[in-house]
């Protein structure tokens, strides 16, 4: 059974519709990528999963229907979210940011803190640095770390490579792969960087103007004429 199952999701911002009947499925233990251009609705989709938008349709996570639930409850069911701009707490140090992430998982603080610091050793060195003074790459790590502090079963990551140097992207990819392989964490990422997504994910959805246009494994999509023409510029 899928860990996350979305059926006919519709999201409106005022009168404008951002998602048109989106359906997708994420199997337990998978890494799934949602690719698409600016404004496709990737962030809206992730926001909707954790209950940050007004939405209709069905979202079932781990057997629980999330449609009528509010964001804090959804998070405590076991969904960690690293949003697009991080939404970190700028005047708190790294460790304090992580501790806030543990708001609903206080018993596991020591264990999770160890796990995050092992994953990103630079954060342990800089654990008292305020995040407003950190580099983009460090902030991305804090953002992932904070999401992991809630002991999630599902990790949502919005454009993990946005604005990062190739070297840092590789580090982030390695960390995500490690979390998936070693801890069996299910991961959904969104990306505009199609190569990054295809290398990381086992399943890829293409989202355009609020609709799922294609889905498949990276190998299938790499040969899809539409993707090759639009995203690899051939």
């Amino acid at each position: 059974m899928a860990l996350l199952e979305i059926t006919d999701l519709e999201v409106f911002y005022g009168k404008a519709r951002s998602l048109h009947g989106v359906s997708l499925e994420v199997g337990a233990g998978k890494i799934v990528a949602i690719i698409g251009p600016n404004g496709a609705g990737k962030s809206t989709l992730l926001d909707s999963i954790v209950g940050l938008t007004k939405r209709t349709g069905r979202i079932v996570f781990d057997g629980t229907d999330l449609s009528r639930m509010r964001a804090p409850q959804i998070v405590s069911l076991g969904i960690g979210y690293a949003p697009e701009r991080g939404n970190l707490f700028p005047f708190m140090g790294v460790k304090e940011n992580l501790l806030v992430g543990a708001y609903r998982a206080r018993k596991e603080i020591d264990k999770n803190l160890r796990m995050v610091f092992d994953l990103f050793p630079v954060l342990e060195e800089r654990r008292n640095q305020e995040t407003r003074t950190q580099s983009g790459g460090e902030r991305q790590m804090v953002s992932l770390g904070r999401a992991l502090m809630s002991s999630p079963k599902l990790l949502l990551v919005d454009e993990p490579t946005m604005g990062l140097a190739p070297r840092v992207c590789l580090d982030i990819a390695a960390a995500l792969r490690d979390l998936n392989a070693r801890l069996g964490l299910t991961i959904v990422i969104t990306e505009q960087n199609v190569n990054f997504a295809m290398n990381l994910a086992q399943e890829v959805y293409l989202l355009e103007t609020g609709r799922i246009r294609l889905k498949g494994t990276p190998d299938e999509l790499r040969h899809e004429k539409y993707i090759v023409e639009t995203y690899f510029g051939a």
Binding site: V50, L52, R70, A71, P72, V75, S76, Y81, P83, G86, N87, L88, F89, P90, F91, M92, E96, L99, V100, G101, Y103, R104, R106, R146, A147, M149, S150
Partner: protein, 284 residues
Amino acid sequence: MLSQILIQGFLLSGLYGLLAVGFTMIFSVGRVLNLAFGANIMIGGYVYFALAQEAALPKLPSFIGAVLAGVAFGVVTYLILVRRFRDDPIAVEISTLILAVVMQALIVMIFSPAPRSMWPLLPGVAHIYGVAVSLNIVLATVVSWVVLGGLLVFVHKTHLGRAIRAVSMDPKGATISGIDPRQISLVTWGLSGALGAMAGVFLATYTQLDPGMWVFPLITAVAVVIVGGIGSIIGSLIAAHIIGFMETITTTVIAAELRGVFTMLLIIIVLLVVPKGLFGREEI
């Protein structure tokens, strides 16, 4: 005269710190100005008066009663008015100002418009470096500082306190960490109500009770917060000292009537030169 200024300035600043922090917390968490904060102060003073002087209860339970009344007033204001206008700060500000005026009318109906004098919390006079200060003011200052210190520890070292700061810095980030900003707002309004009521009791024993007593402390709280940078607890504490000392100096050296004028001048200068305040930021 120097030691007099130092001691009285320090004592006044503790009270202003209480006022300013109570006021600023609500802004940083909800980005709204609670103009009923003055009413909160007045309620603290009058509830203490009713319990300690009219019902002749002992002082400590009366004080606790006043603080609880402040908590209740803050929480009810949030639940009934503020939550409804969540996305509209102007509506919150207008409705809390109206609430303050209504509360003033209510107080006049219950207690009459005549000023009442309050007994000191602690009678007697102490001599500190040759300066005579009433023990009442010393007690108020000590309690203010203990409370403010406790509050700083609370917001930095506990999960709930960190959650309050988290909401003030990034509500979305807090929400996706499992924090409910509405719950945090409720807690903040309660806390702020407690601080306001406490300040009200102290203020009334410094001076006296009267139904217009909410205006001046509200202006002082706004002043401290503008000078300190709205939202910052530390900034508010430092600004409380700047204004506390400035008023003490004005009162001692120039004339008591002018102290408010210099505060206003300072506000205007700060607004012109550093609009975000001396320690400007909006988070706790």
